[in-house]
């Protein structure tokens, strides 16, 4: 078991999300940055879909009541075990009674904590990803207690320290495909999308990132149709909205771009004031 001593700004349990329930209007949810979360699971020898804790801006504080191994990936948040700095992207031995805490955010926006075997929280519709109205809690609170697997004395583990490319956190490049309504945009609008940098506005969360710079728009709304994480919508007032993992299943705004899967992961590490440059990839 682990006990939450501090919840952090916004922490939740996430796996790869809820597949197959879009037809009932249920969002995918799941880790925002699949790349970082999968890396943490991989280093521990877990399954990719094992549940991790996703922390945003500030870290969580946890007390372990059994021996286990953990791995921390994603944003750099100065992790400490019993007030001693520990390395990221490395399998770390934890003993019963140890306290994990985090310090200041230095790079990126979302940090992942994986534990050997994954967090064994409530599973709803094939997923442990927390989502309001689907799971009984929508985020982690102080004093929450989560089950984890007790570690056998010597489970095989990988002691390698994995080097993660800074690019994932620092590059502004966001690879996109044309969205279903891209061709409805004028030549000028299309060029505007690729010749300017955009800024992430303060309206950014697990559902969507709104961008600050408007794109002059005269497109009518469309008949409500499917959207996906990574869909970039254009509102009648010219706002660009990048949908993220908790997004609704359908929408009525023109879908002008679609982020590449890896670009969604990169976007998940951006925050208020970050710049992004859309880069059109592929011929389609």
């Amino acid at each position: 078991m682990v006990k939450v001593l501090k919840s952090g700004m916004y922490s939740s349990v996430q796996d790869l999300g809820r597949m197959g329930f879009q037809q009932y209007g249920v969002p995918y949810s799941g880790v925002m940055d699949v790349y970082s979360a999968s890396l943490a699971n991989h280093i521990l020898g877990n399954n990719t879909n094992d549940a991790v804790i996703e922390m945003t801006i500030t870290g969580i504080s946890l007390r372990f009541d059994c021996d286990t191994r953990i791995c921390i990936s994603g944003a750099t948040m100065a992790p400490e075990l019993n007030n001693q700095a520990i390395q990221m992207n490395k399998s770390i031995q934890v003993s019963a009674g140890d306290v994990l805490s985090f310090g200041k955010l230095a790079k990126g926006f979302r940090c992942y904590l994986a534990v050997f075997g994954g967090f064994k929280t409530e599973e709803v519709m094939g997923s442990r990803s927390m989502y309001n109205g689907v799971t009984s809690q929508s985020k982690i609170s102080k004093n929450d207690v989560f089950l984890i697997n007790e570690m056998n004395s010597f489970t095989v583990s990988n002691n390698a320290l994995v080097k993660v490319k800074d690019e994932h956190f620092l590059s502004h490049r966001i690879d996109v495909y044309k969205g279903p309504e891209f061709d409805f945009l004028s030549k000028n609008q299309q060029e505007f999308l690729f010749q300017n940098s955009f800024t992430v506005s303060k309206d950014n969360n697990r559902m969507a990132y709104q961008l600050s710079e408007p794109l002059e728009n005269n497109l009518e709304p469309i008949i409500t149709s499917a959207v996906l994480p990574g869909t970039v919508q254009l509102t009648p007032s010219g706002k660009l909205i990048v949908l993220m993992r908790d997004c609704q299943t359908t929408g009525g705004y023109p879908r002008v771009l679609q982020l590449k899967e890896s670009a969604i992961n990169r976007m998940a590490q951006k925050f208020t004031g970050s710049f992004i440059d859309f880069k059109l990839v592929g011929s389609r």
């Binding site: 597949m19 197959g20 329930f21 879009q22 037809q23 009932y24 209007g25 249920v26 969002p27 709803v124 519709m125 109205g133 689907v134 799971t135 495909y177 969205g179 279903p180 469309i222 008949i223 409500t224 149709s225 499917a226 996906l228 990574g230 869909t231 609704q248 299943t249 359908t250 879908r255 679609q258 982020l259 590449k260 899967e261 389609r284």
Partner: protein, 243 residues
């Protein structure tokens, strides 16, 4: 029925199939039939099929390496569709209490439309609505068929909190909020039944192609039904429809 469909890639592992941009029950039937046939063919790489008014999104388990191949396979499936009139759908009779305690915008609509509250309720309960798809919120049914008399623009300033079960009108649509949510629709009543239950394998009772009628109940009947719903004992009235 053969419509002129367009096929577009949507990101790296989805294909969007689009029907003519109109909201029409014949199109819905065609989309459902295409979706069902794709499911029956159980193409291994397809993990999810998502219906909307005039589109079907086909989601694959990994990157579509060859878009043209996938599209030509889909086109072949579409060509093979048989006109099928044995479709089975369900007519759900949904209890709604239109008491002003719930229908907080009834008065305003009544003034705007120069219709009595009774006339509004009659108009809303007389129509059989078609379920086009579920979206927006888990369990939110997109319904077609609202009488033009009741078309009413969304509120300029959305409410921060709309109660679970609120029955509302937004533009040319009507629907029921399956959970508490912010929203800009005009509220005319409340339904005690549950539109989304995450504990069930099939979390929604209705599906695309089903029909809905709203049945007026009194405040007392509402409370009785609510108690049964909360106890998990409520059985909604329904009829199976063929063709």
């Amino acid at each position: 029925m053969a419509f002129n469909l367009t096929y577009k890639p949507f990101g790296e592992r989805a294909i969007l199939v689009e029907w003519p941009a109109i909201i029409d029950a014949e199109i819905l039937k065609d989309i459902i039939q295409f979706k069902t046939t794709i499911s029956d063919n159980s193409v291994k790489s397809i993990v999810e099929l998502k219906i909307a008014y005039n589109s079907l999104l086909i989601i694959y388990d990994s990157v579509c390496r060859n878009f043209e191949n996938e599209v030509s396979m889909l086109k072949n499936i579409y060509k093979s569709l048989q006109l099928n009139n044995d479709t089975v759908s369900v007519l759900w009779k949904i209890p709604v209490c239109y008491d002003v305690a719930f229908g907080v915008d009834l008065e305003a609509i009544s003034e705007e439309k120069k219709l009595s509250k009774e006339a509004i309720i009659k108009c809303h309960t007389e129509v059989e609505y078609t379920v086009y798809f579920i979206g927006f919120l888990p369990g939110f049914l997109y319904l077609g068929g609202l009488d033009v008399l009741l078309h009413m623009p969304r509120k300029a300033t959305p409410r921060l909190r709309i109660e679970k079960g609120a029955v509302a009108i937004g533009g040319n649509q009507t629907g029921v909020y399956p959970a508490e949510s912010p929203g800009g629709w005009n509220i005319i009543g409340n339904s005690p039944v549950s539109f989304f239950n995450p504990k069930l394998n099939v979390p929604c009772f209705a599906k695309a192609g089903d029909r809905i009628v709203f049945k007026q109940v009194s405040l007392i009947e509402y409370q009785d039904i609510k108690a049964l719903v909360d106890a998990g004992l409520y059985q909604m009235e329904s009829e199976v429809l063929h063709g």
